[in-house]
Symmetry: C2
Subunit: 115 residues, 2 copies
Amino acid sequence: MNPANIFAGIPDALPDELFDAIITGEQLRIERIVSRGQRAPATGWFEQAWGEWVLLLRGGARLEFENGGEVALGPGDHLFIDPGRRHRVAWTDPAQDTVWLAVHFEGGRLGENSE
Amino acid sequence: MNPANIFAGIPDALPDELFDAIITGEQLRIERIVSRGQRAPATGWFEQAWGEWVLLLRGGARLEFENGGEVALGPGDHLFIDPGRRHRVAWTDPAQDTVWLAVHFEGGRLGENSE
């Protein structure tokens, strides 16, 4: 039994963002996203029925929210995007691959953190 | 709105493994686990009703399965543990922190990978 590696299988040429499903269930989808300077078109917002938890694994990015907020993300940064909250990728680092982990799930609420 | 960082808030002293809930839902739990040389007692197996997807973010570890298989994990390695599959942490690197991401969810099946 060999594990897969989340940083493997990234093609040399990446004209578009790359989406790879890792786990797909009825109420859950875990995916890897690789960006190389891509950003959302200025006219487009993502609006999702499910909650999304995002962890940036490598690279750098900025997420923008329709209400005006913008969030810079570096390696290890994570946040939860509420269902229905309109957002888009405002920027990803053109000089390196940005690797995201996204966990999409039905509903969801922020957990207690014991820190 | 500020993101949290998955590598933040690790205490200097770590006598036991550290478990922090990041997301808790009815059918999903995302947690961070930090190990510093800890391993499971030789007599103990984990057996979980939910599926678990594990991603090793930093450090090194070995997972052991009751059927005899053992898996070495380095940064970026990930695997899915079926519901009910008995397993334990056989080893974690004593020289550095090992940071795991664990996504526990009801049911689940392996997704198609577009690679």
